[in-house]
């Protein structure tokens, strides 16, 4: 079952293996799994940007149904979002989103262990449940709440692609 490109769909480009597993957990718990695809890990946040610039900008221009989430670590630098945005062309900015842990996923997993979210996949699942149920139990965590602006944008354009909302 490859991605259905006749409808809007989402590609997630993860920085590393931990982010890939977060994305896996999210993917397992959306309603329309065929409208999302987790891509190969890029190998670093700068590599995410390189790949986005060298491959995905052209592909997104060619395919108006494609949305992308760049899943990176902020390494304690919330202003990284501004830096990443500089490489996203204006005409694609409505279809590109940047998400990630404020530090790194390992710190998030450590912090969420008491809440029984002791694996990246479980955390990804919890984030998907938040999106589906319009809650922010996990997204509001200290290491994730800096994503709120991007989440607001995703709620409008991407969540309906992935979830069956009544």
């Amino acid at each position: 079952m490859s991605v259905n490109k006749y409808l809007p769909y989402l590609f997630v480009l993860p920085e590393d293996d931990a982010n890939r597993q977060l994305a896996n957990g999210f993917h397992l718990n959306i309603d329309k799994i065929r409208q999302m695809q987790v891509l190969e890990v890029a190998g670093g946040w700068r590599e995410v940007l390189d790949l986005f610039s060298s491959v995905h900008i052209t592909e997104m221009e060619r395919d108006g149904n494609r949305y992308m989430v760049l899943l990176i670590d902020f390494d304690g630098k919330p202003n990284r979002l501004d830096k990443v945005r500089t490489i996203i062309p204006n005409h694609l900015s409505e279809r590109v989103f940047v998400l990630g842990t404020l530090t790194d996923p390992e710190a998030l997993r450590h912090a969420l262990r008491p809440a029984d979210l002791d694996s990246y996949e479980k955390i990804g699942s919890a984030l998907a449940f938040d999106c589906r149920d319009a809650t922010d139990a996990t997204w509001s965590h200290d290491l994730l709440r800096h994503n709120s602006g991007e989440i607001d944008r995703l709620r409008l354009s991407v969540w309906p692609i992935l979830f069956h909302f009544v």
Binding site: S2, D16, D17, L28, Q37
Partner: protein, 369 residues
């Protein structure tokens, strides 16, 4: 769901325990010859017992002892949680000197820690359960007791366990051998799924609503799918035919003429429908990514993982990077073996130090379990 699978002295599995408890899906990875498929073979032996094969020589042979070590029993133990009950089944075989065939050394079925029956060589002891009295009888020690012991009713724990074990889906499909013809119905497909037609007929007869699930899944992958028909051909035989339509035109294709990958979609659809109709089931699929286009693999595996999250258990083996990426560290198990003279070791990938990306580490073989 399997809580414990223990195998000893069977081929490369020595003192081997598969850590899948609590996981609705799990992936077995490892180099060729490390024992991934053998785990499925061990499950297949238990499944065959439940499906009625009771002659020990039809199940295991002297060559199956690990490194020919016939002085130690060959042992299979499975503990499963079905509903609210825990079922434990143990069978051990031995090959005494001057015996040509293995015999049963020990066999036990317990439910909730209490024995339903136990056995020491030829002596079987049926425990007192409900209205049934305690009983002892002798059985040929070359026969397994599980298929023989009569259950009181479909509600009896013995029946429930035996049915679950018999209905395990252990799959290694060979699409070119799957033609879609059938003369009967079954809910218990064979390893290569050459009885696909009978399985399709069985599921639809058992739960007609399962057709909608099959159709919905397939329609996502093949938008031009219109219908799957199973008309009678000849006397008491049926032959599956898949109807496609596009732009007002229609094309019927005999099932046997579908591509190998398309047949795998069909099998996947039946697995999902079966788990829903008569599950929860255990599905062990040896390399489910075989025959699939790269763009299909990820979603194929994910659909199976997702379906079994709500009941049952899905265990896959794979060498395919796209399939491997769809699992995570808590549900990926690495099997390894230092040589053909040493047993299989299994470890969760979370316990293994990996530098960088998992797939790259696998390709570099920088992976020391």
């Amino acid at each position: 769901m399997i809580r414990r699978l223990y195998v000893n002295n069977f081929r490369c599995l020595e003192n081997f325990e598969l850590p899948v408890s609590g996981h609705s899906s799990a992936l077995l990875i490892g180099k060729n010859g490390t024992g991934k498929t053998t785990v499925g073979v061990a499950l297949k032996i238990l499944q065959r017992i439940a499906r009625g094969t009771n002659r020990v020589d039809d199940l295991v042979k002297a060559k199956d002892f690990a490194r020919g070590r016939t002085d130690v029993p060959m042992r299979f133990e499975i503990e499963v949680e079905l509903g609210t009950k825990i079922y434990e089944y143990v069978i051990a075989f031995e090959l005494p000197e001057n015996f040509k065939e293995l015999r049963v050394l020990e066999e036990t079925l317990k439910v909730g820690g209490k024995p339903v029956y136990s056995r020491d060589k030829a002596q079987v002891h049926l425990a007192k359960v409900g209205q049934a009295k305690e009983a002892r009888f002798l059985i040929d020690w070359h026969l397994v007791a599980l298929p023989i012991v009569q259950e009181e009713s479909p509600k009896a724990p013995l029946f429930i366990f035996k049915q679950w074990l018999a209905r395990m889906l252990i799959l290694r499909p060979i699409p070119s051998l799957i033609l879609g013809d059938s003369k009967e119905e079954t809910l218990q497909p064979n390893l290569q799924v050459t009885d696909f037609g009978a399985w399709f007929s069985g599921i639809i007869a058992y739960a007609p609503s399962a057709y909608a699930k099959v159709y919905d899944y397939l329609k996502q992958m093949m938008p031009d799918l219109e219908d799957i028909r199973n008309p009678v051909v000849g006397t008491d035989a049926r032959s599956l035919e898949v109807q496609f339509s596009s732009d007002g035109r229609s094309l019927p294709i005999p099932f046997g003429d579908l591509s190998d990958g398309e047949k795998c979609f069909m099998i996947c659809a039946l697995v999902l429908a079966a788990n829903s109709a008569y599950g929860p089931l255990l599905c062990f699929w040896d390399e489910p990514d075989n025959y699939l286009a790269l763009s299909e693999v990820g979603h194929f595996v994910l659909a199976l993982r997702k379906a079994f999250e709500s009941g049952g258990q899905f265990i896959a083996t794979s060498h395919n990077d796209e399939a491997i990426r769809r699992f995570s560290e808590e549900n990926t198990l690495v099997l390894s073996r230092k040589s053909h003279l040493e047993p299989t070791l299994v470890r969760p990938i979370s316990e293994i130090q990996i530098n960088g990306d998992l797939i790259s580490a696998l390709v570099r073989d920088d992976f020391e379990p």
